[in-house]
Structures are given as structure tokens and as C-alpha cells.
């Protein structure tokens, strides 16, 4: 059972899937720590919305490609909101190109943000979770990774990596009451997909893009007490794209 006072840290929490997840989790009684890199205003607005709905939330700034910043922000969150027993590794970037044209900088940026930061935050979060014998880690992966998508080798590698990370850590800590799962969104209407052509939707069996709230609801389920026996799995939220 989740302790009375439990904080969930949501990276990239100021908009899109992260914001929808933070709202859903706060509605379920989690204290939401909303991590943002550039969206100070959107993070502040989200915190206000959550508070207006009767929830508890606070915004924190961090550049997750900086290892010491990961540690520092985690300490700040614990100090302000108490033990972090939930972690949603959602922060993600794209730097698309054909492999021949991906330079080291674009490779590193995507892997550092999407995968390495998730590893670092998970390693840090497990300390308190193991002691509490309760923890919920949800990694926001993608249908890209398990599926090919030409032009996204760096992104696909990072997301497939997240799924491998999810399964392995899930197996390591399962007996301590900590679950680790992934969600794999398909085409979701967010800032990240705003520049994609509408024709992509035609490839989705549901014939429409998903809403961030539809992913947030799945994240909230995986974080709930009811999902205590679900671990190491990937929940596709993709309108049937990967089916």
C-alpha cells in the first residue's frame, strides 16, 4: 500500500504526457514534483491547476543531462515534499536524422536525456523505495524502439533501452514491493509530435492521435496500489499501432 504521504517525481512534467501524468497522479493523492527544463511558465501553471483541484504540487528546474543536477533536484524534492516513492521518467527529446547524418552531439543529447537520466534518477529513487518496501517507477518509452522508424536511430535506441532498463530493474527489485513498468505511447498530440504530418494518423488503426490524458491515465494506473502485481511490463497506448 502506498504510504499516506508519498511524492511522485515527473520529469518533463510541465507539458504533454508529463503534465497529464502529473495531474492524474495528483488526483490520485500523490504529491506531484513537476520537473521542467525550459517550461517555467507552463510548469507554474500546471502547479496552480493541480492546487486548484485540491492536490499538492511543486515545480522544480533541472537539466537532466547534468548528473549532479539530477542528484541535486532529487534532494530538493525530498526536502520540500518528502520521500519520493513514485518516479515517472518522461523527459524526452528528439533529434531526428538518418543514421549517416546523426552527429555525436545529437546521439549523446538524446541518449543522455531519454535514457541515462532515467537510469540515474531510478538509481537514486530506489534508496527510499527499497526502504519503504513500496515504489512505483514508470518509464515513458515509445512504440518507436520496439518498432523501427527510419530517421530516429538515436530516439529508438533510447526508448528500446528504456524498455530493457524497465524489465531488468523490475526483476531486481520485485520482491521489495517496488514495481517498474513502461508505457509506450504511439502518436499522441503533444508539442513533440506537432510537426509530424497528419498522414501518420492513417497508419493508426484507431484513425486518430491519442490525447496526453489517455497516457496519463495509464501512468496513474501503473502507479496505483491496484497495479502492485504488474511489473516489468510495457503498456502500449497507441490506438493499436503496434498490434
Amino acid at each position: 500500500m502506498r504510504p499516506q504521504e508519498a511524492t511522485v517525481l515527473v520529469t518533463g512534467g510541465d507539458r504533454g504526457i508529463g503534465a497529464a501524468s502529473a495531474r492524474a497522479l495528483a488526483a490520485d493523492g500523490w504529491n506531484a514534483a513537476v520537473l521542467y527544463r525550459s517550461g517555467e511558465r507552463t510548469a507554474a501553471e500546471l502547479v496552480e491547476t493541480i492546487r486548484a483541484d485540491g492536490g499538492r504540487a511543486q515545480a522544480f528546474h533541472a537539466d537532466l543531462t547534468d548528473a549532479s543536477a539530477c542528484e541535486q533536484v532529487f534532494n530538493d524534492v525530498e526536502e520540500s515534499l518528502g520521500p519520493v516513492l513514485g518516479l515517472v521518467n518522461n523527459a524526452g527529446v528528439r533529434a531526428d536524422n538518418l543514421t549517416l547524418s546523426i552527429d555525436d552531439g545529437d546521439w549523446d543529447l538524446v541518449l543522455e536525456t531519454n535514457l541515462t537520466a532515467a537510469f540515474r534518477l531510478t538509481r537514486r529513487a530506489l534508496r527510499a523505495m527499497l526502504r519503504a518496501r513500496f515504489g512505483r517507477i514508470i518509464n515513458v518509452a515509445s512504440v518507436v524502439g520496439p518498432r523501427a522508424n527510419a530517421g530516429q536511430a538515436n530516439y529508438a535506441a533510447s526508448k528500446a533501452g528504456l524498455i530493457g532498463l524497465t524489465k531488468t530493474i523490475a526483476a531486481e527489485v520485485a520482491r521489495k514491493g517496488v514495481t517498474v513498468n513502461a508505457v509506450a505511447p504511439g502518436f499522441i498530440e503533444t508539442d513533440m509530435t506537432a510537426d509530424l504530418p497528419d498522414a501518420i494518423k492513417e497508419a493508426v488503426p484507431a484513425r486518430r492521435a491519442g490525447r496526453p490524458e489517455e497516457v496519463g491515465a495509464c501512468v496513474a494506473f501503473l502507479a496505483s496500489d491496484n497495479a502492485g502485481y504488474v511489473t516489468g511490463t510495457t503498456l502500449y497506448v497507441d490506438g493499436g499501432l503496434a498490434a
Binding site: R127, L130, R131, E172, V173, R175, K176
Partner: protein, 82 residues
Amino acid sequence: MPTLDTTEVEQRIYAALESFGAEPTEINPYATFQALDVDSLDLAELSQIVEDEYGVAMKSSDVERLKTVGDVIALIVERSQP
């Protein structure tokens, strides 16, 4: 750092081992982790507790050497000497 009281460290380590599921009556300085059914994840968690509460860093190479409950207590007390 003041010298640690061995009995106090012993009590803390025993409490941690109990929380990992070790049988309280079987915990003593000579008991091996294997006999107590304390596995590598438990030992990783124990090293974190030791680091947080006593400021003593236990590397994975240390953990590999530690076979008994007494080994851990001795290491903490030794490394915390001023």
C-alpha cells in the same frame, strides 16, 4: 567523527537484517549472509544504509568480501575511526 559504539552499530545492522526477512533468532556476528538468506540486493540496500547513517562508503568490492554479520560491523567501526 566520534568513535562508534559497536553495540549500537550491531543493533542497527540486526534491525536492517530483520527488515530483510532474516530470522531474528539466527542473527549473530558469526552468522553468514548466505545462512540468513540475505542476498545481493539486501546487501546493496545495507551498504546504502551504512553510507547514509554512518558516512561509511561500502564499495561493491567490499561487499563481496563480507561474509558474516560481524564482518560488516567490524568494517563500519574500523572505517569510522577518526
